[in-house]
Structure formats: structure tokens, C-alpha cells
Amino acid sequence: MNRERPVPKLGVGVAFQPALRPFIESRGDLFDYLEVVPDILWNDRGRGETPRYVDDPDGVAFLRQVRRERAVIPHSIGLSIGSAHRFDRRHVEQIAAWREWLDFPWHSDHLAFHLAEHGVDEMNVGVTLPLPRDRETLAALAPRVAAVQSRLPIPFLLENNVYFFDFRDAEYDDAGFLNALCERTGCYLLLDLHNVYVNSRNHGMDPFRLLDAIDCERVLELHVAGGMEHEGFYLDAHSGPMPQPVWDLLDYALPRCPNLGGVTFEILGSWFSGMGNEKLAAELSGMRELWHRHQPAPERLAA
């Protein structure tokens, strides 16, 4: 169904954080689309509440304003699609409701879970926890991806996760699991190159081998970011400019992804003051240069 529908070539995007708002409003010349975690611009009052979701009126007004000139792509953190105890159809409905006024060409979430049963209630771990790379996981994900795609007839992308501990008895390696996921469920990939780098650093893998092994036709979006060292691990902290190996991965991945819609730079608002406007501008300019070297000219998706 979705497989045949290509996404537009949007180009270079930046991930919204409230701290970046002045930059976004003043430097629209540096990016082609805005990505937003919609969950930070609504309040989820919890299961059983009516209304369940309350939109942030200021946030919605801001996105409407941005959308007049360029695409706004939702990258949600709220679905917890890997949670075994429930599938949150109401969250999918909320994304569908936002599509009514944002008219985005694709949307994404994380290949992970953060909600788990806790006694009679539910726990929100606050970090995305990995799913075992096995057929049982794929079987659980398949009907959920189908439900999302049935409700929103546009490509649904899942983002490869970072993991700091790995599960024993994995049935797939990282690339094999992502390929099997796409084949089994029909979803597409948001390939986070910084996450690939993080996992390769922490688990001693070659990130370029993953890019060689992955079915790049399924990759519709790339993420890039910077991170930091912490007690012998490298973290996906979204804390600054990309390290050179992530630039190298981007240069390697861009020509290999024929259906790519965009590449998005992520930085957390709390780290942005340390990075500043000039460095962010330099990152986006560098990404644009690589995009133009390897991909067709971006299409402007104004409202």
C-alpha cells in the first residue's frame, strides 16, 4: 500500500526544541523542513481521560506559522510501539488528527518501548529501551505497524534505537533485524546515523558494514547529531555538532538511499546555548552541501 508511494525530497531539516525557536524563526534560509516531537506540544492526560490529549495552543500556532512556508514532520516519542502490554490506538488517532492540519508526507516513531506494566499501573521509563532482535518481536510489531499504516495512509518510519546493553541469543544482527522489520511489517526506516555510530562505538561494530547490509531503499529519513563520552560509553546526548565519523557516515549514506526524503539535525534545547547559532548554521550548511552533492534538489512543500 504505502510501499509504492515515494515521499518528496525535502532536503535538510532541523528538529524543533523550544530553545531553538528564535533560530528557526530567523534562519529559515538554512533548513528545508522542521521536524517536531509532537508529544512536547500536547499534554497527554493519560489513559481513560477525556479529552485524552490537550494541544498546546502556542505550540500549535507556531507550527501553523512554520507550515505556511515549509513541511513540518512529526517524529513522535509517545507510541511505545514495542510495549507488550498494550497498543496505544488513541495515540495513533492523535497523530492522525494532527495530519488534518499539518498535512505531513510521512511520520515516525521509535523502534523501542518505554511503557511497561508496573503492578496494576504502568511505568514510563523515560528512555527508549531496546527490543530483542528476534522473530517474536517482529510478530508483535507487525499488526501494530499495519494498524498505524491503515489509519494514516502515508509512510510510517521507525527509528533504529541505541542500546547500551544487548540481549543474549539475538536471532538477527542490527542490519538483519531492520531489514526483516521492513519486510515483515511494511514500515520504512528513519535511520539515525548517530545512533549507528553510538552502537558501533559501544559494541565494537563497523558502522559502514551496517550501511552496506541495510536495505537502503527503505530508508526515507536520516538523523544526525552529536554526543559525548560518559564512563567509558559514548552517549547519544544530542549535545552539539556532529563528530567527524558521523559526517563520514552521512557522506556514505546519502548516495545509497534513493528514496530519502530528508536528513534532520537534532540537538537538545539544554545544550543549544553551548553550541550557539553560528555552529548550528554551520552544521546545516554542511549538511546542505552534502545533500546537493548526492541527492536531487529539495522540493519546497509549502502549504
Partner: protein, 213 residues
């Protein structure tokens, strides 16, 4: 059922250090649940993995960040040495439920107000906690689509001197005594506006003074 129990146990390994220590110490005996043999191996492996330390650090950073950003005055007044054990106790009582910062901040204030704060030996702590709680409760109500009633907080000292010192990043010194009540309300734009409502038992006409926050 097995996957549900597996994920619950994995989440607890991240959020509950006592549980993780028990699993590491007692192995399979600590894994009460209907796990498959493979799930048991995976849980035992995860519990022993150094990567679980990092995952817990990230979990704690996310959760603590909510309090530091939402309750800066309370956190400053408590100081790191007192804040850390209070946060640990709060987390043991309340598993992480919500993604949202305001809910966590209000819950932490309620936890503190439920304690005997005099035992902590921090002057003006209760007033500051109530002050920040009122502000967050108003904003939480707005985020939930409700129109909140004004909140009132009583002070036994000059709130302007106390709060301005904390806003400047200072631990307040000697604050002049003053019996007064501040009232907070939400503006149309969603900002919290504070006014002095009562001074030494005498009501003050509205909009005489605004106190930041």
C-alpha cells in the same frame, strides 16, 4: 504474558536499583514471573551488564532534569547534599509514570510537603516549595485544558527578599520577618502572575505588587 513480564522486569532493572541488586545477587531465584528460559538469560545478562548502569544514569538524568528545570528555587535551597537523598526517597515511593515535567514537579512538591520539613533544617523551605508548587499547579491545569482558580501561599518572611535572592542564585541570608500572603493567577497568555494579597493581616488592593516567578 511472558513478554509483558519480561518488559516489566527489564524496566524495573533500569528504575529500581534494589531490584537489580537482588537479581544480580540471587539470579533466577529473584526473577518471580513466567519467563521463558531465554528471557531469564536475557534479564540476568542485562542486570549484570555495565550498559545497564548507563541506561539507569540516563533514566535518572531525564527524571532529575524535570525537577531541576521546574523547581529551581526549591532545588537551590535544598542544595545538592539534601536534594539527592530526598529525590532518591521520592523515586522509591513513586515509580516514573508520566512523561511530563509539570506532573513530576507537583508530585515532588507534594512529597516534600508530606515530610517533616523542619527535620531538614532549611529555613523558608516550606514557603518556597509551596510557592513553586502553586506556580506549577496553575501551569499544569492550563496544560490539561482547565481554567484554574488562583493559588495562595503564606509567607512568614519578606517574599521579595527571599525569592529574589534565590532567583539570583544565592542562598538567602537573613530575611526580614513579614506575615503576608501571595496570590498567583494565570494570565490569558499562560504566564503565572503573583500579587501580594494580604500583609500583616490586612488585604492589599489587587495589582499593587507583582512578584516574579
Amino acid at each position: 504474558m511472558s513478554r509483558r513480564a519480561f518488559q516489566s522486569a527489564l524496566a524495573r532493572l533500569v528504575t529500581d536499583p534494589d531490584y537489580r541488586a537482588e537479581v544480580r545477587a540471587r539470579g533466577n531465584d529473584a526473577l518471580a514471573g513466567r519467563f521463558s528460559p531465554r528471557e531469564r538469560r536475557r534479564l540476568l545478562g542485562a542486570a549484570a551488564d555495565r550498559g545497564m548502569d548507563v541506561t539507569r544514569t540516563l533514566h535518572k538524568a531525564f527524571r532529575l532534569g524535570k525537577l531541576l528545570t521546574q523547581l529551581p528555587l526549591t532545588c537551590r535551597l535544598l542544595g545538592t547534599e539534601r536534594l539527592a537523598p530526598e529525590v532518591e526517597r521520592f523515586w522509591r515511593r513513586r515509580p516514573p509514570i508520566s512523561f511530563y515535567f509539570l506532573e513530576e514537579a507537583v508530585a515532588f512538591c507534594d512529597y516534600l510537603l508530606g515530610r517533616d520539613l523542619s527535620a531538614l533544617g532549611v529555613e523558608h523551605l516550606e514557603e518556597v516549595v509551596r510557592y513553586e508548587r502553586a506556580s506549577k499547579a496553575l501551569k499544569r491545569a492550563r496544560a490539561e485544558g482547565r481554567r484554574p482558580e488562583p493559588e495562595r501561599v503564606e509567607f512568614a518572611c519578606d517574599p521579595a527578599a527571599l525569592l529574589s535572592a534565590l532567583h539570583r542564585g544565592e542562598v538567602p541570608g537573613e530575611i526580614p520577618a513579614l506575615s503576608c500572603t501571595l496570590e498567583a493567577r494565570l494570565t490569558e497568555g499562560g504566564e503565572v502572575e503573583w500579587d501580594v494579597a494580604v500583609v500583616e493581616g490586612v488585604p492589599v488592593p489587587k495589582a499593587v505588587t507583582a512578584v516574579g516567578g
